[in-house]
Amino acid sequence: MKRRALWAAVLVAAMTLSGCGSAGSGSSSDSADDKLVVWDWKSGEESAASYIKQAKADFAEKHPDVKVEFVAQPFDQYYTLLGTAIQSGKGPDVMLFNGGGEIRDRTDALLPLDDYVAKDRKRLAGWEAFTAQGKVYAAPVTLQGHPVYYNKALYKDAGLDPEQPATTWREFLDDCKAIAEKTKASCLSLGNKEGIGIQFFLSGLGPGVLTPQEYDDWIAGNRDWNSPHVRQIFELWKEAEDAGLNNDGANSTALFNDAFARFQSGEAAHIVGLMSDVGHWKDFSEFLDPDDIGVMRAPLVNSEADPALPYDGGIGYGVAEWTKKPKLAADLVRSLTSKDALKAFYADAGAVASDSTLDVSGGGQALTTIVSEIKTGKPALHVALSSKTLDLMGRLSQQILSGSTSVDDALQKLADSDRKG
């Protein structure tokens, strides 16, 4: 028995000291020379079928001998599966990413695309979300933003002017009061079960709090979590709950799709939604009259703030660092962001594509408002944070809602995490 214990101790000690090997190294792809493998979570969806078809046709025209295989992974498992592929160094040549933390955390496994996509830089928007340390790692397919949608029918029921939504937080609170008195709907539809509600709140309503300089500093990485205005955003988060603006049980309501469903079924008057293919104007118009879906700017909390549409690159395709065919793979990325392909994606899925030259006039008033603000828009506040800080912010936001932590404590912990991250 003693000998067995001794051997176990020796083995563990040897491993501790050596720690050899790595959990994430590797350098070879297993696909054949005449074949490219793409991983994403979109190509299996019906609404993306014509987009993928167009992209394939565009690529086949340039490279008729190369076969392209799309492997659609389930989204909720996507980054886990990708993580396994990255660790083994064997996997797809081209991969789909969300902009922001998801891609920035994995740039070691990606090829910088600056030289390959130089010609597309002007035509496409949203590059910032796929850029890390000054290098571009994916080309944007869609733009993802966080407009504040409101239900004009509920405004009418509450005796409010649906064409004149609140421009200040005070007015917003007054409107919410009227909605609560005259309708059964809650003012805000909030889903914070996975801690995502705070991300949308921060990005959707933060532009009405931070001054333009503070906003730019935040995006640039100079984040002062203890500044009065950052504190104010989190105090608003608490105030909205305490004032009864949110639906009951926000911490047990999933944003996807429960909170969105609440809004589109007329149970809530406002929601910070999305622009790209889910939780957006087209999704909502499935149950709401498209003319009843309004988009408003973040209400002004501070007079020095200058609210702009918060948006970034939504999803984009990048090239694996281990691919044996970097130029071919980059060409495929360019086909996946070609004008015709993106046009098809917009037409079928209602996604706001990254191509700013597309005509979207047939999308209704809400989309027209969103697109008109793209030029003056700014990156979303939460996208600038690391996955780790976002995860922590999700839990702390739940604690703030339930009252088990103070805003000060939460900000201190977030500041620590952001510094380390």
């Binding site: 491993m15 050596s18 050899c20 090997g21 959990a23 955390d105 049980g249 911490n251 995860d391």
Partner: protein
């Protein structure tokens, strides 16, 4: 009785007899004590045969069990991100135990241990009622087992709907004048809710084990207890519990392992580890670190800790069963 003419397979015992006739016979036949080349190769083949037969199984165990396990432990001593591939000693373990989320996950393991008697008592009591033939017992047997064949994801989705803040369960409570409860959104309640659903979904299997245990119980003891005028609680406490001690111990350990390793699906669907991280278990923590945070080395360290935890539970199981066997 040996067959006539068939060679004896038994070597004569060396009794030390010096009988001439026997000695002569020995010299005429091949002396079994003297090794011939064929005998040597036969003996070697016989010696090697078990190893050859075991080799495929050993190769599979080594290749698919031990090597990944050791690789996982090895990864846990390397870094993530910028330190990928470099040796970091015990850094990951130090970070793990500094992480309040991992500590919550371990505390929840402790909570599961505390809730374990309840998780065992429910199937035990229900099995007792079925054994004692409550009216309609064949129906109960199948109804109790039914959730065991449902996928945890399905169970989670069903209870998500039932236990939603504005769901039917709270509506029913409202009808009786009780305020709605945020079953999955209150950090003080959520873990109990998930464990309750897990017990609901899995106690059918433990119930079957208990019923199997009952089949070995001596019915005359029950009859004797009844004749002596024992009440139901007395029958359970003084006859059934001692009679089923081995079964109870077995169910204890398997239920504990099930709670530690099979609640991922429910946690993922019902709470996503929340609210406030209150429903994290080590397994869920590992998945988040590996999949969401892209920290495979830290996840490996957490896996190693979970493995050691399971090892302790496994060893406890062996110790319990051994002791029960001795007592028996």
């Amino acid at each position: 009785m040996p067959l006539r003419g068939s060679p004896s397979s038994v070597r004569p015992a060396e009794t030390g007899r010096t009988d001439e006739t026997q000695a002569g016979q020995r010299t005429r036949r091949t002396d079994p004590g003297v090794p011939t080349p064929r005998r040597i190769s036969g003996q070697r083949a016989e010696r090697l045969a078990p190893y050859v037969l075991l080799a495929p199984a050993i190769a599979i165990v080594v290749a698919f069990r031990l090597v990944p396990l050791l690789m996982g432990v090895n990864f846990s001593f390397t870094g993530d991100g910028e330190r990928d591939g470099t040796a970091v000693g015990l850094d990951n373990y130090a970070e793990l135990f500094r992480d309040p989320l991992f500590r919550t996950a371990l505390e929840n393991v402790g909570l599961l241990v505390l809730l374990l008697p309840v998780a065992v008592a429910i199937p035990g009591l229900l099995a007792t009622f079925i054994y004692l033939r409550v009216p309609g017992h064949p129906i109960y047997r199948s109804v109790y087992f039914f959730p065991a064949v449902l996928s945890p994801v399905l169970v989670g989705a069903i209870f998500n709907l039932l236990l939603a803040f504005d769901g039917p369960f709270n509506a029913a409570l409202g009808n009786t004048g009780i305020d709605p409860v945020d079953w999955l959104g209150d950090p003080d309640i959520a873990m109990f809710t998930v464990v309750g659903v897990h017990v609901w979904a899995t106690f059918g299997m433990a119930l079957v084990v208990f019923l199997a245990g009952f089949s070995t119980l001596d019915a005359t003891l029950l009859d004797a207890a009844r004749v002596d005028g024992a009440s139901l609680p007395q029958v359970i406490w003084h006859v059934i519990v001692p009679g089923l001690s081995r079964t109870i111990q077995f169910v204890f350990v398997t239920t504990m392992i099930g709670m530690l390793t099979s609640m991922f699906g429910l946690l993922y669907v019902m709470t996503s580890g929340g609210p406030e991280g209150s429903t994290y278990l080590p397994e869920y923590y590992i998945w988040v670190q590996q999949g969401e945070m892209n920290r495979p080395a830290l996840a490996s360290a957490a896996s190693t800790v979970l493995f050691l935890l399971m090892l302790v539970v496994g060893l406890a199981q062996i110790a319990l069963l051994r002791r029960a066997g001795r007592e028996h």
